[in-house]
């Protein structure tokens, strides 16, 4: 299951949804908003997504992870909107019989989310500047 949240992510609530008597392992990844990026001091950021396509693509990623690794359940949530430092931007949780499958599936999912889902991040810097991450150096060469 993957969905977007416009409100703060509650990691305990999500973890509790993955409790399973047959699972011997639970692994989760939390992506946090940090105060620096490429030498700039970050004070806040906005996330925006093309939600219809992102949800379609996220379903594919989760199905791929379930085919590749022996896991029971996968939950992932990504924030949209304005976030502050230390907020959770993305949460991925996996449970499985043994820990190795949970570790591998969790890493696979976050890596794929980062490269495949149409989600964008605008950072706001302490000097008053702002910019869309990964977009600001993609200009045409004249």
């Amino acid at each position: 299951m993957f969905y977007f949240s416009y409100e703060k992510i509650n990691p305990i609530e999500l973890r509790n949804k993955l409790i399973n008597k047959s699972a011997g392992a639970f692994v989760c990844f939390e992506g946090w908003v940090r105060d620096n990026n490429e030498g700039k001091e970050v004070i806040a950021l906005d996330y925006e997504a093309y939600e219809e396509l992102a949800l379609n693509e996220a379903k594919k990623i989760i199905n791929e992870a379930k085919e590749r690794f022996k896991v029971f359940d996968i939950i992932s949530v990504h924030r949209i909107g304005s976030l502050k430092l230390e907020d959770i931007a993305v949460w991925v949780g996996v449970n499985s019989r043994h820990r190795k499958d949970s570790f591998l599936a969790c890493e696979y999912i976050i890596n794929q989310i980062k490269v495949r889902l149409p989600i964008w991040k605008k950072e706001y810097y302490i000097n008053g500047d702002s910019g869309w991450v990964n977009c600001e150096n993609c200009h045409k060469i004249h």
Binding site: E48, Y50, L53, N56, P118, W120, K121, V133, C135, C138
Partner: protein, 80 residues
């Protein structure tokens, strides 16, 4: 002429100044549509850095468009 809907996100939305529009256009492929939009709004984002989606699925630049299509040009992503 084909009637298409364009949705804009992130840097493209900022550069164009709106989140969507409907156009009647002579273009044949998705690539042609981006060339038209890029010229219309003097966009700085180069096509080589973008992906493109047609009706909420990833597509290819040389895919031909049809009437009532919804098209999204996807700037470099930064989720997670």
């Amino acid at each position: 002429m084909k009637k298409i809907t364009l949705k804009y996100f992130a840097k493209l939305k900022d550069d164009i100044g709106k989140s969507s529009e409907t156009l009647e256009i002579e273009a044949k492929t998705l690539s042609d549509v981006y060339d038209f939009i890029s010229n219309k709004y003097s966009l700085s984002l180069s096509k080589e850095f973008l992906k493109v989606a047609l009706n909420d699925e990833f597509s290819d630049w040389d895919t031909e468009i049809e009437d009532s299509d919804t098209i999204v040009f996807i700037p470099p992503v930064a989720g997670g």
